[in-house]
Amino acid sequence: MTGSSDTSAIMLQTRDLTKRFGGVVAVDGVNFLLHEGEVHSLIGPNGAGKTTFFKLLTGLKPSAGEIIYRGRSIAGLMPHEIARQGIGIKKQVPSVFDGLTVEESLMVAALRVRSRRTATAEVAATIDRLKLGEIAGKQVGILAHGQRQWVEIGMVLAQGCELILLDEPAAGMTSEEVARTVELIGDINRDRTIIVVEHDMKFIRMISHRVTVFHQGRILAAGTPDDVLSDHRVKDIYIGNSAA
């Protein structure tokens, strides 16, 4: 994949970001950089702090430090305030509207930033882009797991955000669905920046421009997938994993 270079603008950065739970330091003085246009994966073994870091990006109040998104501090904001900055979130377990149809769900997402007419067009375009045409009129509650994930991604796209946070998008998917997700992330990345939390190393190699490795609450390594995954320290913490 053609990576974005370090010279492109910084979209989001954290400064000495720290989160303590009682005596446990889950995230410990993290300085993270995200450039416009990249697909940036966060990896690390369980308990490395990547999940807490992700939660901090989505509104969890940090114990110390700052999160700057396009010049504005977004640490500890409420979910709707974060969304209004232009950040969309896809949760690990799909957070969707079970009682609404796919089309209605996308409409709710699109209507916040658009008039009715342009929202209708946006919904149609999103359905087209995600190939949801066949299930557009169906209730989300009856859909399969993979389809629910796409509906959620569809809502995130339709709400018109520029940065998308994906929490384990490939979890629980069939290999066929994973392939489609890789394709989809590439497609979305044409006009949006993406942060992904993921376990599957093969998947990460396929989608990422940059990878940041968390270990014991800190950043262990950051760089292109090839550099990072051949780093011996990264290999060390993953010994026993099929990954690196």
Binding site: P79, G88, S95, F97, G99, L100, S105, M155
Partner: protein, 333 residues
């Protein structure tokens, strides 16, 4: 459901009801019409519960407080000014303001569903306690004594705005009440086609996601709650003017639970269902009352229990499920 279906339903319901409304006075005797008027008033009250709980998913178990505040506002202002117009306006203003304050506390305090249920119930009972104890000269608002558990008697009936002398008779009252129900119903249906309504429904489905889409769920829930209070308040003023009397029992748990039962029977998430259930069940209760065999409280409890256990979705959705299943069955054959 497609948009065209929605529109057909609204137009169909409103149209059929309009015909019923115009024809009813020709087919019913005065007593029947008078009796039916209060069924419609309570149906309007049920519509507020249907909107707040069924559509918005807000577990308000104390809608009676707004009904009661509306009723008392009507009583006090109509007597004080000698013109029921002020009473009706007050029956919207005061429940609205109170709902805004209470709702701000509830929704901006991020109080969980069960707490909302218990708090709304508790506040409703606070009103019951207060008005029950409000006998004596010390308790008067705008010179109108509240009268404790005896309530306020001899309320003026509705009159043509600005002209207290021309009060409405039975048929006129019927037209006013019935067209208010239709108007409120149509307005709510319209609202549901707009962004506001779609977000309200989405919050019921998944509040967290609505927040992540950039809407502030607290604001929408507060608005839903206030709209519900306005409807309940209006119903309360009609109730007071219909009977010419108001007493603290309007705040009782029975008052709240009856509309909960109507919504549960008619179906959560629909607006027509609760209206029909309200009318049908009131007819049933009044019939059972004339048979003198069944205690209405007992009947209400039984219906509530049976529906929670057996048909938790309510009649309308259950019937619609059957209908779609039958249709699919036929399509497959």
């Amino acid at each position: 459901m497609t948009k065209r279906n929605d529109l057909t339903e609204t137009v169909g319901v409103v149209g059929a009801s309009l015909i019923a409304m115009i024809l009813a006075p020709f087919f019913m005797d005065q007593f029947g019409l008078f009796q039916f008027t209060v069924y419609i008033v309570i149906a309007l009250f049920a519509l507020s519960q249907a909107f707040v709980w069924g559509i918005g998913g807000i577990v308000s178990f104390g809608q009676a407080m707004f009904f009661g505040i509306g009723g008392y506002a009507y009583a006090i202002l109509s007597i004080h000014f000698g013109d029921s117009t002020y009473g009706v306006i007050g029956s919207l203003v005061f429940p609205g303001i109170f709902a805004a304050v209470l709702g701000y506390f509830i929704f901006y305090g991020r109080i969980s569903d069960i707490y909302v249920g218990v708090i709304t119930m508790a506040v409703s009972l606070m009103f019951l306690l207060f008005f029950n104890a409000s006998s004596g000269d010390g308790y008067a608002i705008l010179g109108v004594p509240l009268g404790g558990y005896n309530g306020i008697p001899a309320l003026p009936p509705l009159n043509i705005p600005g002209n207290p002398a021309s009060t409405l008779g039975y048929s006129a009252m019927w037209y006013v009440v019935m067209s208010s129900l239709l108007l409120v119903y149509a307005l709510l249906r319209w609202m549901l086609t707009r962004r506001f309504g779609k977000v309200v429904v989405a919050i019921r489905e998944n509040e967290e996601r609505v927040g992540m889409l950039g809407y502030d769920p607290r604001r929408y829930k507060l608005a839903t709650f206030v709209i519900g209070a306005l409807i309940a308040g209006l119903a309360g003023s009609f109730y007071a003017s219909w009977g010419g009397f108001i007493s603290p029992t309007v705040f009782s748990l029975t008052m709240s639970v009856q509309v909960i039962v109507y919504v549960l029977v008619g179906g959560l998430g629909t607006l027509v269902g609760p209206i029909l259930a309200a009318i049908a069940l009131q007819m049933l209760v009044s019939y059972a009352g004339t048979q003198a065999a069944v205690d209405p409280t007992f009947l209400l409890g039984t219906v509530l229990l049976l529906f929670v256990l057996l048909i938790p979705k309510g009649f309308m959705p259950a019937i619609m499920d059957l209908y779609t299943r039958a249709k699919q069955g036929r399509a497959q054959n």
